[in-house]
Every structure is written in structure tokens, then in C-alpha cells.
């Protein structure tokens, strides 16, 4: 008897929690979050320790978050309206505490990889990495940097696909070496003409010896 009553109490408390979240979600505009592909569920353990579970890194690339709550906040975010977000050219960037100095234990809604650097250094790092990737075709860096640079490499290739003078100048403003921009604009239409997006591939490898940092190869597809 007491057990059933306790369970009933639990049930009501659970349903009350669920009811509040559900009502909140229905109140806000629903977004179609990109579902992770079935590849995320393929997780075959293997004895080899490198080049595994590529599917995981690919599926994590589409960040399926709950953009619902944060999207409703972007319009009224005081920090972004003051111009604190750095690279306005490349999409919005949220500062770490946009929720009134409340720290969360989870990563909900955080879309910008900070890479442990201030914004100017971060931008310089990403510019340098994309320049080197476009120059060498395949580079080896840490996994966090590799997954952070995908966006910028894809952006550069998209600029090259459009091919106009304005896009060329925009690319020259990002990539450090002129020859690479001109070579890129020359060869991208043949190479990536049919491909829509996803111009890079990340392959995870063994960790670095000095600090056990997880490493990855990133290459142009």
C-alpha cells in the first residue's frame, strides 16, 4: 500500500516535470532538428585503436541540439547587440554566459568551439589551419581543431565555387597566401562541382605522445 502510494507520488511528480517541458516546447516554435543518421548507432568495437568509429565523428558533426530555446533568445541577447561577438562575418557566436551568469554542466546550445584561446587568436589559428589544409591537402592536428576548422574550409570552398570577384576578395581576406586562393578558385569547379557540401573528411588516429592529445587527420575529400 505504502509502496503504491509512493509510486503514485513519483508518477505525478514525473508527469508534472514532463508536462512543463512539453508545454514549453509546444509554446515555442518547433524546429526540425537534423536527426543523426543511423551511422551513429553503428559502434562496432575493434581491437585496433586508430581510424575507428569514423561514423561517430561524422554524426557528431551535425550538432543536433535543441536550438529552440536559444533561437528565441538570440534576438534579445544584449551581449551580441553590443557587438561583443567577434566573427560576425561567419555566423553568430555566443559568449560563454549568455544566460545571466548561470553555469550549466551540459553543453546545451553551445555552438562555438573556443579552442582555449581568445577570439583573435582563435580566428588566426583557424585561418592558418585552413590555409595549410588547402595547401597540403591533408594535415594532422588535434581532433578539436580538426572539427572546428571544417566549417571554415567548407566556407572557403563555397566561395571558390561561386567564383566572382567579390568572393575572391573575401577569400583573399581570410586565407593567408594569395597563390592558394588563386589555385583554389581555378580548380574547385572541376573538383567539387557536383558535391554539395562536406568537402572534408576527418580520420581519427593515435594520440600524441607528448600530452596524449587525441589527434586526427583532416583531408579534402
Amino acid at each position: 500500500m505504502a509502496l503504491s502510494m509512493a509510486m503514485a507520488v513519483d508518477a505525478t511528480s514525473c508527469t508534472s516535470n514532463r508536462w512543463s517541458m512539453a508545454s514549453l516546447r509546444t509554446a515555442l516554435p518547433s524546429s526540425s532538428s537534423s536527426s543523426t543518421s543511423a551511422a551513429a548507432t553503428i559502434r562496432l568495437p575493434s581491437s585496433r585503436c586508430q581510424c575507428l568509429q569514423q561514423c561517430i565523428s561524422l554524426s557528431r558533426s551535425r550538432r543536433q541540439q535543441q536550438p529552440v530555446l536559444t533561437r528565441s533568445f538570440t534576438a534579445i541577447n544584449p551581449l551580441s547587440s553590443l557587438g561583443f561577438s567577434d566573427n560576425t562575418t561567419f555566423g553568430h557566436a555566443f559568449p560563454a554566459v549568455d544566460n545571466g551568469s548561470r553555469f550549466f554542466a551540459m553543453r546545451h546550445g553551445r555552438r562555438v568551439p573556443k579552442l582555449n584561446r581568445p577570439p583573435d587568436q582563435r580566428r588566426a589559428l583557424l585561418r592558418g589551419l585552413t590555409t595549410q589544409l588547402l595547401k597540403h591537402g591533408r594535415i594532422k592536428t588535434t581532433r578539436a581543431r580538426a572539427s572546428a576548422m571544417r566549417k571554415y574550409v567548407d566556407k572557403m570552398i563555397t566561395l571558390a565555387k561561386e567564383g566572382s570577384l567579390h568572393k575572391r576578395r573575401q577569400a583573399l581576406g581570410f586565407i593567408y597566401e594569395k597563390q592558394i586562393v588563386h589555385a583554389l578558385f581555378a580548380e574547385v569547379p572541376d573538383r567539387y562541382g557536383e558535391r554539395n557540401g562536406g568537402y572534408t573528411r576527418i580520420i581519427r588516429t593515435l594520440p600524441r605522445r607528448g600530452d596524449n592529445a587525441p589527434m586526427a587527420y583532416i583531408e579534402l575529400v
Partner: protein, 173 residues
């Protein structure tokens, strides 16, 4: 798309150089004391001499080993894909390539730009090739698939690949 976990698919070896196959033979490759596993890093200075390759299989079967680099001269512009480094044929099963016939002598990896993949492919021969096989005139623009089709070798029975990049001129501290 790389939805599978196989390192050869992930590293695009299957697709760029060979087609999907079922590995039938165990092949272990050693450069000095370092065992080569798929995607590991080998320094060009360590790979100057041909590796020690041991293959399993019956001793009355003959095998052909081909080593190519599909990323020549640079992975972002592989205009010389593939560049063949080594061809050995008539290797009896269960031994190593020293017992076979060297069609094309070994040239170590020398990647000028970027990180290159070096792929060792093992085919099973239907009959002894011996004198039928003449080495290709050019090492560049080699095609492993055409080579296998030309000699009726079929799909490979074993493949392994490793990465190599140019070492910096100064010794890294």
C-alpha cells in the same frame, strides 16, 4: 560514405586504389622493428629499405605484391596518381618477397608535400607470371585496378596502408 568502421574504407584506400574485397591472407609488414598497421605513421628515413613482409597461405600458391602512393605529388592535387614504388611477383605463400621476382625495384617513400598514403596490396596469382610481366615504363599514373585486370589477378587478398610525410630538415627537438 564512411559508415563502416573498416580502416581501409575510412582511409579511402578502398575506392581510390582497390575495390571492396574480402581479406583472405594475413600479411604483416615490418619496417625495422615497427609493425605497420592501417594508417600508422612511418618516417621516410625508416622506410628507405624494403620492409620485411610475411604472408600466410599455401606454399604452392603464388602472390604478387604492389606498393603504390595514390597521393602523388600532393594529396590536394594528385596529378600523378598513383605512383608505384614496388612490384614483386611469384611470391610463394608463407614466405616473403625476397623469394619472389622483383619486377620493379623498391623505391622508398619521398612525399614532397603533405601527408601521403602508401598502400601495399597483395594479389593471388592464378598461374606463375615470371617472364610475362614487363615493368611499366613510368612509375607515375599507375593504375592498380588495370594492372590486376591485365594480369587476371582479380580482387586483392590483403591490403595494408601507412602514412608518411616529409620530415623537417632540422632535427625536431
Amino acid at each position: 560514405m564512411a559508415a563502416s568502421v573498416d580502416p581501409l574504407v575510412v582511409g579511402r584506400v578502398i575506392g581510390d586504389v582497390v575495390d571492396m574485397f574480402v581479406p583472405a591472407i594475413n600479411m604483416s609488414v615490418y619496417y625495422g622493428s615497427k609493425h605497420v598497421s592501417n594508417g600508422c605513421d612511418i618516417k621516410p628515413s625508416m622506410a628507405v629499405n624494403p620492409p620485411k613482409v610475411t604472408i600466410s597461405g599455401h606454399s604452392d600458391e603464388l602472390y604478387t605484391l604492389v606498393m603504390t602512393d595514390p597521393d602523388a605529388p600532393s594529396p590536394s592535387e594528385p596529378s600523378m596518381r598513383e605512383w608505384v614504388h614496388w612490384i614483386v611477383s611469384d611470391i610463394p605463400g608463407g614466405t616473403n618477397p625476397t623469394r619472389g621476382k622483383d619486377i620493379l625495384s623498391y623505391v622508398g617513400p619521398r612525399p614532397p608535400v603533405g601527408i601521403h598514403r602508401y598502400i601495399l596490396v597483395l594479389f593471388q596469382q592464378q598461374m606463375p607470371l615470371g617472364n610475362m610481366l614487363e615493368p611499366p615504363q613510368n612509375r607515375a599514373n599507375f593504375n592498380t585496378r588495370l594492372f590486376a585486370a591485365h594480369l587476371n589477378l582479380g580482387l586483392p587478398v590483403a591490403t595494408v596502408y601507412f602514412n608518411a610525410q616529409k620530415e623537417p630538415a632540422n632535427k625536431r627537438r
